[in-house]
């Protein structure tokens, strides 16, 4: 029997049930019309700026479907002559108003504006072009901005405000002079607010905001250098993102193919950042056990996400003593590889370390003064997942059909604890795996912290060892982090250890990964990491090569040598008012 309470909208003659959709666009998409839009992002406030989701609503005329809440009995047409004509005019106006020289654009092949022009069959624009010249701002090592390619959809502004609560950029000026600008129109590197998380670039439909890919050329130079050796290591999240660019479904781990491709590109040593993630856990979790026992600045805060660390330094420096002093895996890998190279008789500057990261902030992190030793950086170059895909394509490597290869040892050895770093909650789970075994050596079987793997914005777990209770929390997205810290400060939340990743969903959702919309892809990528985890040793201290490193190079866990190579310090970047 038909449910009489069920409400329907008719879309191109087909009845579509209203099941909690917030607007007509969601219903139209559910009906199978996957209209491309610029400014509609499911997790952001509805904006209605791009005028690409136009539909005809009987009795009302042409409306933007993203701004109209569905009502029972509405009749919608999506492909009338008028709707098509208006969508095309809007697109042509966008094309005329900016600098859209597709072949010379970073975003070419992955640009929504380009795709829509192609899908609509636009081969000429009837409006006079404004002949805008490129206005590239390459001052930031993390992100490149080119306002001449901006279509003012406002996605970047909303993600920076609504998800990250930073507001580093906003609309400025008005009318035909309107633009997206940093505060006081400063360059990207001068912005006092930007933490380089790159979520703005993740939601940018055009080439107006992109991760900086200039370092790719430096990597080629290093590879082709006659005497230097080049080591490369890939972050956990890269293996579940890169495949998407080569038609492999999201969440399928392609680590074996990546190892093969990196060798074909000419890298001398092919390593896995997950090794350094295990090392991070050994250092960070032992630091936690010490601090927990001594009640020293709790909750301890994770320190592996550079955008999060930058956020603490710029906005809440009062929490600096709570940050773990452990470096991020990337910044542990560099000095360890170089120390090992020197140990074997090489010169530090003769080893070039390249990190492949799902992230724009990692590019900023590698360039921080504190990570240089006599003008030689711990990490020489950082390239994103997307930039590596470009290198693979440029070299003509048939990635999808590569046979799997192993990473080189010892720095390619990892446990599941290191691999799950790439998903929000993973660092905490790996730390608890370590701590559970250290605090309770008699414990049998693996402790699983299912609650940390959910996708809720705030997650918590409790580790019980005898009378001891360790309370931990996990969140991602800087607005969520801000809220959590406010609660901690107000005494409303009591935790011993907190993990924060600046991108919602963790590194799998970073700005260096292939672009995506909504939660589905993020979840699939995280799933891929947990699938890899299930095939590997469980906890980081089971990584024999990590433990052997202590005997060979690092001496004691948390000791002076380990501190020199594996730990760091922080400094308030907040201006005194």
């Amino acid at each position: 029997m038909e449910n009489t309470a069920q409400k329907f909208v008719t879309i191109e003659g087909k009845k579509v049930a209203i099941e909690g959709e917030r607007n007509l666009l969601e219903l139209v998409r559910k009906a199978g019309f996957n209209i491309t839009t610029f400014c509609y992002q499911p997790e952001l406030a509805v904006f209605g700026a791009c005028r690409m989701c136009l539909v005809e609503l009987e009795g009302k005329g042409v409306v933007t479907s993203c701004t109209v809440p569905p009502k029972d009995g509405m009749v919608i047409h999506v492909n009338t002559d008028e709707v098509r004509k208006l969508r095309r005019i809007n697109l042509e106006l966008l094309l005329a108003s900016g600098n859209h020289d597709c072949t010379l654009c970073e975003k070419s092949g992955n640009c929504k504006l380009q795709r829509m022009a192609k899908d609509m069959g636009v081969t000429s624009v009837r409006f006079k072009s404004k002949n805008v010249k490129t206005q590239r701002d390459c001052t930031s090592s993390a992100l490149v901005r080119d306002p001449s390619k901006c279509i003012l959809c406002g996605n970047c502004v909303r993600v920076c405000n609504e998800i990250q609560s930073i507001g580093a950029i906003d609309f400025a000026c008005r009318g035909y002079k309107a633009k997206i600008a940093t505060a006081f129109d400063k360059s990207m590197c001068e912005s006092k607010e930007c933490v380089s998380c790159g979520q703005c670039a993740r939601v940018c439909p055009t080439g107006a905001l992109t991760p900086n890919s200039a370092e790719v050329e430096d990597v080629y130079k290093a590879i082709n250098h006659p005497t230097k050796k080049v080591a490369v290591h890939i972050a956990p999240a890269v293996r579940v993102g890169l495949g998407e660019i080569f038609g492999i479904p999201a969440g399928v781990s392609v680590d074996g193919k990546i190892a093969a491709a990196l060798r074909m590109l000419g890298f001398d040593y092919v390593y896995d950042t997950s090794f350094a993630a295990d090392l991070t856990i050994v250092e960070e979790a032992s630091e936690f056990i010490r601090r927990f026992t001594e009640k020293d600045h709790l909750p301890q805060l994770t320190s592996c996400c550079p955008a999060w660390v930058s956020y603490v330094e710029k906005f809440v420096p009062e929490f600096i003593p709570n940050l773990s002093s452990a470096r991020s895996p990337m910044q542990m890998m560099g000095p360890v590889l170089k120390a090992d190279f020197v140990e074997r008789g090489g010169k530090r500057e003769d080893l070039v370390v390249v990190a492949v990261m799902p992230c724009s902030a990692k590019k900023m992190e590698a360039k921080l003064d504190k990570f240089y030793v006599d003008d030689n950086p711990d990490t020489d170059h950082v390239v994103t997942t997307v930039a590596l895909a470009r290198m693979i394509k440029d070299a003509g490597i048939d990635f999808a059909n590569l046979a799997d290869e192993e990473f080189d040892h010892p720095f390619g050895t990892k446990t599941g604890g290191g691999v799950i770093f790439g998903a929000s909650g993973g660092v905490m789970e790996a730390a608890l795996r370590y701590a559970a075994a250290e605090l309770d050596p008699k414990r049998e079987g693996n402790v699983i912290f299912e609650s940390l793997r959910e996708t809720k914005e705030f997650r918590e777990a409790e580790l019980k060892v005898g009378d001891i209770k360790v309370r931990v929390a996990v969140t991602s997205g800087l607005k969520n982090a801000r809220k959590l810290l406010e609660d901690v400060k107000a005494g409303k939340a009591h935790y011993d250890f907190i993990e924060v990743m600046s991108c919602q969903g963790g590194c799998v959702a970073g700005a260096g990964q292939p672009q995506y919309e909504g939660w589905k892809i993020r979840k699939q990528r995280a799933k891929g990491l947990y699938a890899d985890d299930a095939k590997l040793a469980y906890k980081s201290q089971d990584n024999k090569d990590v433990m052997a490193l202590y005997g060979r190079v690092l001496d004691k866990i948390g000791g002076p040598k380990a501190h020199q190579l594996l730990h760091t310090h922080y400094k308030s970047q907040k201006e005194a008012k």
């Binding site: 405000n161 930073i166 507001g167 580093a168 950029i169 906003d170 609309f171 400025a172 000026c173 008005r174 600008a181 940093t182 505060a183 006081f184 129109d185 006092k192 607010e193 005194a576 008012k577």
Partner: protein, 161 residues
């Protein structure tokens, strides 16, 4: 540092640090400094707990706000439809030349005059209209405009003595 912004604090207090009152707050603050200096906008943003980029956005959206220092005397020339037809463009050219303003520059090098081009002052019957500080002048010719500027320069010189 706070002392430097004491007059701004007074305005903020008057509006109860309410970020939804950003526009009137900026109006009052601009009255103090005659424009909106960057450090003042930063200070306002910090105190209202909103991003400096948002304050900058509002300050650049409304023509009423200026983020550049203004001259001692403000000359507004109307370039609305009626004034435009009656030759306000020639007026703007003459004043720019008189003040030695380069393209994109609206304040004279000595900081004495700022030329603003506005759209309809609601006195179309007097077109073309020019306003210097608080005085309105109708049916202004380029000669009359330059003479008014000369008068003001003389007054300033007399005042300086």
């Amino acid at each position: 540092m706070t002392e430097k912004f004491a007059p701004v604090d007074k305005v903020l207090e008057e509006f109860n640090y309410d970020s939804s009152k950003l526009i009137p707050i900026l109006q009052h603050v601009q009255d103090i400094y005659s424009y909106l200096p960057e450090d003042v906008m930063r200070y306002v943003a910090d105190k209202l707990n909103i991003s400096p980029a948002k304050v900058f956005g509002v300050a650049t959206f409304f023509a009423h706000f200026s983020i550049k220092p203004k001259g001692k005397h403000i000359i507004k020339v109307c370039n609305g439809t009626a004034c435009h037809v009656k030759g306000s463009s020639a007026l703007i050219d003459a004043i720019s030349k008189k003040l030695n303003l380069k393209a994109g520059q609206d304040t004279s090098a000595d900081g004495m005059f700022t030329l603003e081009c506005v759209y309809c002052l609601g006195a179309c019957g007097l077109a073309p209209v020019m306003v210097m500080d608080q005085s309105v002048y109708g049916q202004v010719t380029p000669e009359k405009a330059t003479a008014l500027i000369d008068d003001m320069v003389k007054q300033e010189a007399a005042h300086a003595k």
